[in-house]
């Protein structure tokens, strides 16, 4: 089901949360169709590169569904679902990779032209993608520097351009 990594803290989760997760398997964003779409889109936003895994490998498409279904206000979730649904009915999944990229780029440019406080499903999706990626195991351990127990705090460390940020 792809939820193993996120649910490994089951020891402290209330049982109701685990039951909620199972019961949402049939809900829209967890369905195979939307997970396929989200998988392609998050990978286009934050793709695999030579030096770090992509968002799909980091299971970000599942994180998007978890947050949107369980945490988002209903109106925000519905706006996200509506935006994704239109992409599906417009045949996104049948397009070539280049065509898919163009669609996502157009959405990003559409958002950039809007005032920051105008709701748009793609703004939310991109935000969730960044958040999900940079808190995922793959993202944190391979795309960032991470030390779970730093041992100390050093305030003035020389920085060379291009050095990877700490989580």
């Amino acid at each position: 089901m792809g939820i193993v990594a996120r649910w490994s803290a089951g020891a402290f989760l209330p049982l109701s949360a685990l039951l909620d997760a199972c019961s949402t398997a049939e809900s829209t964003l967890f369905s195979r169709e939307y997970q396929s779409l989200l998988g392609e889109m998050v990978e286009i936003i934050l793709p695999k590169t030579a030096t770090s895994p992509g968002a799909k490998e980091a299971d970000v498409h599942h994180f998007v569904a978890v947050i949107a279904e369980e945490c988002y206000e209903i109106a925000d979730k519905e706006r996200l679902v509506a935006g994704l649904k239109k992409l599906l009915t417009d045949g996104f999944l049948q397009r070539s990779p280049q065509a898919q990229y163009e669609v996502v780029l157009a959405l990003d440019q559409e958002v950039n032209a809007l005032p920051a406080d105008t709701p748009h499903f793609f703004r939310d999706l991109k935000s969730l993608t960044r958040w999900g990626y940079f808190t995922s195991e793959a993202g944190v351990t391979k795309a960032l520097r991470y030390n779970p127990i730093p041992g100390s705090y050093k305030g003035c460390v020389p920085y060379e351009p291009g050095e990877i940020a700490w989580y």
Binding site: A9, L46, T51
Partner: protein, 563 residues
Amino acid sequence: MNTTFDALVIGSGISGGWAAKTLCEQGLKTCVIERGREVQHNKDYPTAGLAPWEIPHGGWMSRKFREENPLIIKAAGFGEDTAHFFIKDADQPYVQEKPFDWIRGFQMGGKSLIWGRACQRWSSSEFEAPAKYGYGIAWPVQYQEMAPWYSHVEDFIGVCGNKDGLEAMPDGEFLPPFEMNCVEKHMQQSLHQVFPDRHLVHGRWAHLTEPKPHHTALGRGKCQSRNLCMRGCPFGAYFSSNSSTLPAAEQTGLLTRLSDALVVRILFNPDTQKAAGVEYINTSTGEHHTLTADIIFLNASALNSVLLLLHSTSERFPNGLGNDHDLLGRYVCFHNYRGWAGGRFEGFKDTYIYGRNPSELILANFRNVHQHNMPFYGGYTIFSGAYRPRNEAPPEDGPGIGAEYKEALRVPGDWHAYMYMQGETIPKASNRVYLSKTKKDTWGIPQLVMEVGYDENDERMVQDFLTESKAMLQAMGCVDITQHDSRQAPGLDIHEMGGCRMGKDPATSMLNEYNQLHACPNVFVTDGACMTSTGNQSPSLLYMALTARAATYAAQQWKSKSL
């Protein structure tokens, strides 16, 4: 279980833990009574070691939780990884006659698990100003009396900081401070050049940067700079009752820990004219029980202590234990946290950090220090710092998606600075809490009604902070300065205080200089309820110092059979 003790301590948080430790170390058989569940140090920190990807919703609470708990989710530090150390809204309903966000944590250790850990000593100005400038009554203790107790507490809990020689923030017994980053050093120097009487310095924090032998003897270790404190620290590196005072008390063999026990009244004995003990409810079974003792310390957290006293009525005290002059529940105050400011630096790109700093800088109060020359009374501390978050912008002229965008997000961005205020508020009789005549909680105890609000003094202080913080950030070279007044309700500061204030005169105060109820001398109140004024600096260190002093006095009185 034994039901007779030498001393009872109601509450196990910051001050309750200290009462238990001090009384036990003085030889008194002591029972600490905690309304919440047991939390054993380290064993009961279920989230302490979780990696970021192991937090199911990335730290956000579910929609359902938020709908059911609109209050507690507002608390600083509250999140999916710390929620189990805060109450749920329904755990203790209360009435807001005026808006008041009452933040509580009911478990062994109380809010000492989730506190902010700031430990500045009050200046003599803070003790003296309210009476001197007519906005409060005189404290029955002054800085000189408290200084050795501050030292006593600092040494035991471990406080890190730098000796700065500032009137507004006296020096103490310090472990080495956390480092300033390069930008913070720049902020300190540039501020001082433009405002020579303003000092941005290391704060004072209850973190073991360099544990001493008595810390390691308790099983506590060096802070690892994870900055995950409110989950509970497996290293015992910040001070909590759970890691420090309760284990110290247990080492005497004289401590009994009683959890899931909600004290509902302090019992008054008219024959002895003293408190006899407490009545509590076992929250697992619903049964009522009684414990008796010679001495009672009330450390249930400010407004819960006031509630308990109000509910402890008798023929002698029809308006609440010790309440002969309608003072109980009045003069409730809080800290003004409404102002926030931030800015961006364009330089310093060649410097970064390692590790996650759990501390902040402090810009010591520079208003009304030993004088009154502002259009408001009191002062405000500013918490501040500089940080370098990851870049969020696409590469120049590049798309906001794709490989180059992702690479751009993997590096640090610009440095930023922030400032937020902690402002003194004026104690007023009209800012009060009292028992509802109609509403009760699940245990049949009357709900507390909050009638506490801001005043014109608070508004003027916020304006001054907004003006000055902007000027100071500009002096430091910040651009893109933003500010806001959160207009948050009182209480969200989690520094609610008063309601059972200390003072010299029983006609205008509830407690004497040793935190004893004037009218019932074997009851000591040493949590936030006792505060005669708020000062501008954080209160917990003073709660601990007052507690250590009062408990030492109580033990001496007990041993000489005076109590």
